[in-house]
């Protein structure tokens, strides 16, 4: 599984799957765990404000968005998505239009009766596209004007004309030839060409149609303006939609005739402005128990439970399980708190995801120590008989292809982050003219401007335009250089230089912009480029260090065996020489550097004092 020399996947396979030491991954786990713990502990005072039922992004809005947010289909070919119905974006206008839909009868036949005028108007104001484009344009303008006049006629019928004027209108429409001087309002062109009977009939349709409009004057205006401005080529579809005749690919896409269906349809339209039936997919693939918990005690209980899991993850106990739990838990916070996220949450997710994939608990963890304990116990119990796996475990962390895969994923992702960030900056004018640095250095909300000393320094610097120009230019060019060159140069011998430059960049961002946690995550990610040997040399126990000890134990006594295995597991520096007395001497004896043999609790105390790994806990020796 681990030998990649002969693999058929070539250099890419070797790059991703060659086994590697998981120590770097273990170190990254510790740092990530600490930052994640801090990040989530920082939620505590604001937990209800960010995650509760009445949070800034409350349950109602969050659940609605998560369940309903529509995704409109995008055709692969040249065709375009055509909505069945178009409504306005402006809230009061859309509300009026939706109220209009709501007020229409459920029965399509009744709707047809009520909206017959719309049909007549649309039919009467059709225009023909001809080979003569100019004539077509003239026809179109004429038809458009006539259609708008027809809509205005409804407005007049509904709101302007008195009963007496309506009577005069009827009389005028009945004249043959049509006598406009008798009409109290302007009569649309299309109506003039009709016979008196037809005109009278259309006038009745107009009055019938006006009854379908909202009673409120403003709402009525909104609906008529919406109809007047409806895309001209889609008017017929609008009518078909309203009266129940719209079919798309054999499917009924009209205004629903069922009361419940219509209510759901209009509710969706009110929120999202589109036809719910046309959404290719609805809702977002997010999960979080915070969307469902309402009781504050339970909310806090889950929160503290998660903080406990973060502690376990950090120390590397049951890390295969806790890494998944931490990944799930952090995503729960992120998915629920969509409005409170910033860059650090992205970095946090990237780190935890790759740690979860890799064996992050294989080194620098309690898991690794437990495995050493099991190996030591097996080896000591074997009485000198070699046990391959135990020897290997005690020799140090086992190389793993999964560790390498996780590290490579982290490295490649880090490069993508820099590349995207750098390239996208090239679109901005301020990065080209170097004012981006000033905008960052003097940002009053993020930056340090609130400190008088910093403001004083900045005022001192701006005294010289040249000096400030050099500083701003240097900061801008440095940022662009690091972000753009990092993905290329990090794979060369310049890797240490690039990592240092990256650390400098994020240190600067941390200080100037105050985005400290973001910077800490980026530092942790940059550790992914550190060789494991370097981390082992700097962080881990050096083999051969510490004073020498001798432990005599009786392998026939389970208690003694356990104690000896414990010491062996913790003896990373190889300080202790183990001697199996095999029944000649009972129990456990630890001979210290002073030559004195200790038994009982003294063994623990001496181990705490002498073993290199336990140096940080030396104080505890006095407690025991």
């Amino acid at each position: 599984m681990n030998d990649q020399r002969q693999n058929i996947l070539g250099p890419i396979g070797r790059f991703f799957f060659s086994p590697t030491d998981p120590t770097t991954l273990g170190f990254i786990r510790i740092l990530t765990g600490l930052i994640v713990l801090y990040t989530h502990a920082a939620y505590t005072p604001d937990l209800l404000e960010f995650m509760g039922p009445n949070a800034w992004w409350d349950h109602h809005s969050g659940n609605k968005q998560r369940r309903e947010a529509p995704y409109i289909p995008i055709p692969i070919g040249w065709s375009e998505f055509t909505p069945t119905i178009r409504t306005d974006d402006v809230p009061q206008r859309r509300t009026a239009e939706i109220e209009f839909f709501r007020s229409l009868p459920l029965d399509p036949a009744q709707r047809k009766e009520q909206l017959r005028y719309l049909d007549t108007l649309i039919r009467a104001t059709q225009f023909e596209q001809t080979a003569d484009l100019r004539a077509s344009e003239v026809n179109y303008q004429k038809a458009f004007r006539s259609y708008n006049e027809g809509i205005n006629l409804v407005n007049s019928a509904a709101r302007v004309l008195t009963d007496e004027q309506k009577a005069r209108m009827r009389a005028a429409l009945g004249t043959e030839p049509f006598n406009e001087s008798l009409a109290p309002i302007h009569v649309p062109d299309f109506l003039r060409s009709f016979s008196p009977q037809q005109r009278m009939q259309v006038w009745e349709e107009v009055n019938q149609f006006s009854l379908a409009l909202p009673k409120d004057a403003d709402q009525q205006d909104y609906v008529l303006e919406w109809m007047a401005n409806y895309p001209f080529q889609w008017r017929t579809k609008l009518y078909q939609f309203l009266v129940g005749d719209l079919r798309v690919d054999g499917r009924d896409m009209s205004l629903p005739a069922d009361a419940l269906e219509r209510a759901e349809f209009l509710d969706f339209m009110d929120t999202w402005g589109g036809d719910t039936r046309q959404a290719e997919h609805k809702g977002t693939a997010v999960f979080s128990h915070w969307y469902h918990l309402t009781d504050s005690t339970t909310i806090y209980a889950f929160h503290f439970l998660f903080l406990g899991v973060c502690v376990l993850f950090t120390i590397g106990l049951w890390s295969r399980v806790t890494s998944v739990l931490v990944w799930t838990g952090t995503l729960c916070y992120i998915h629920r708190g969509q409005l409170i996220l910033f860059g650090q949450d992205t970095m946090q997710t990237i780190l935890i995801m790759y740690l979860m994939i890799g064996p992050c608990g294989a080194a620098l963890s309690i898991d690794a120590l437990l495995k050493r304990y099991r190996a030591a116990k097996a080896q000591l119990a074997a009485g000198g008989r070699p046990i391959a796996w135990a020897e290997q475990t005690l020799a140090g962390p086992v190389r793993s292809w999964l560790a390498n895969l996780a590290m490579r994923l982290l490295q490649v992702n880090f490069c993508l982050i820099y590349l995207s960030s750098g390239v996208s900056k090239l679109k901005g004018t301020t990065w080209w003219e170097h004012s981006a640095a000033w905008l960052t250095l003097s940002n009053p909300e993020f930056g340090l401007m609130r400190y008088p000393a910093y403001e004083w320094l900045m005022r001192l610097l701006v005294e010289s335009r040249l000096l400030m120009g050099i500083i701003a230019g240097s900061v801008t060019v440095f940022t662009l250089f690091v972000e753009l060159s990092f993905p290329l140069l990090i794979w060369t011998r310049l890797r240490p230089v690039m990592v240092c430059l990256s650390v400098m960049l994020h240190f600067g961002i941390g200080i100037i912009m105050g985005l400290t946690v973001f910077g800490l995550y980026m530092f942790t990610m940059a550790l992914g480029y550190f060789p494991s040997r370097l981390i082992r040399d700097r962080v881990c126990v050096t083999p051969g260090s510490g004073r020498k000890l001798i432990m005599r134990f009786d392998s026939r006594s389970p208690k003694a065996l356990r104690m000896a295995a414990r010491i062996k597991a913790l003896d990373l520096a190889g300080q202790v020489t183990f001697v199996d007395t095999a029944g000649h001497e009972g129990g456990v004896r630890l001979t210290g550097p002073d030559g004195e043999a200790r038994t009982g609790r003294e063994v623990t105390r001496t181990a705490l004092r002498e073993l290199s790994l336990l140096r940080p806990f030396r104080l505890m020796a006095s407690v025991f």
């Binding site: 809005s61 402005g273 995207s420 960052t440 494991s532």
Partner: protein, 473 residues
Amino acid sequence: MTVTDASPSDLHEPPVSAQRVLIVGLIGVGLAGVAMMLGLLLGAPRRGFDVHYADGPRALLACVGLFISGCAVSMRPGWFGGWLCAAGAALLGYGVGWPRPAGTEWYLAPPRDWIAGVPNSWDSVQIYFFVAIFIGLIGTAWTLSLQYLPELFKNVVGPKWTHVPRQMMFAVVMLGMAYHFAGILSAVTSPPPTPYLTDHYWKRVARPYLQFAYMNNAYQFYSPDPGPACEIWICVEYRKQTTSADQVAEKECVWEYIPKRAQHYKDPLGLAFYRRLSLTENIAQYLAPGYIPLPAEQAKVYARRDRARVPESIDRTAGADEKLIVIPRSSRDDLERRVPNDLVVRQVLPSYAHHIAESYARPGWDVRSVKIYRALHVICSMSEFHGWDTVSGTTKAGKDPYNASYYLAYFQGEFDKNGRLVDPTDPMLYWLVPIIQDKEDWKDRDEYYERGGFHHYFTDYVSRHARCNRPVD
């Protein structure tokens, strides 16, 4: 400590017995099954998202079930039994049901029964279980393949070919990586103008994965240009509860600024503060560039704006006539009105208003309204900071970055306590409510305060518009 190469299987620690793994795994499956049975026995709703009293315990039980079966996987990852148990627990948690009846595919809650360990009201958690089913099945297939394929190749193709299945597994991992990074690339290139291929890949292939794993960030930090941050200024108006209808209700108002460094920098690294800054950023999303409003609406918007008036003074004596004055317009058309996008208008702002009304509830008082202003804190230019006056060509006192006129306060609406926009046709809705500097700049902060501070130098139309004095300085 030295590092050694692991190779043959005898170099691995003897695994936990399959029987033990199976027992643990089946306990997990059993718990998820119990959650499902409880739902059936207690009559939990099988349709829609209605809440049932046993939902919480059932969800917990199902989650514990999945967790325990996950533990079984971790006990012996190389054995398919644990994975299969995890898939089983996930399946029981996610649930089973009949297909959606024809014609009801678009219903938010389709009229069909859905029986699951995780209650239907916890539908977001069901999504997690759905993904867990697939992971369980992939794990099962993976472990089975590694167990049996080498032997199969050895017997069928030849002994030299036993390594091929492992290489095939690596190839599968590489395909998974290609999917993963292609998804990230599609997210990176998705901000407008979006390439055709990105659009299709993101929407058709990568979206559910990227959303689920929160990998859909474009990483375009401070791009294309670093911009100014925002604050949210909120004015909550209370009305005292009265016992009789004739009694004139007493009114009060309070202001809240989000974020306020002194109040919201709660933890040493200021996460609480920065999270609130994100809240402000999320209402700074405007309609798409090129959006052309309906001409009739545009005319009405301007007509309403021209009619907008505010009281000349808020602190008038009771009974005195209120004198109204015009709110000056800005000389810069591009800054005058900023209409947020649909999501902000219809969901985010109402949610904020609802949160504020709930958080600021006081016994004996009703929250009458919540007025929200988004205050864009413009960054002063280098020349302004230096004090260079381009008109006169002289150097004056440098501008204070916290000069009140650098705050461009846009009125986002007045909401009731339920988060409903009171008047969508409010004359000042989404318009800039100015803070105007009337006097020359001050030399330093001492001079500023000596001369009377904010009220000496500025005319604050925000307070007048809200009819509530805003705390300044």
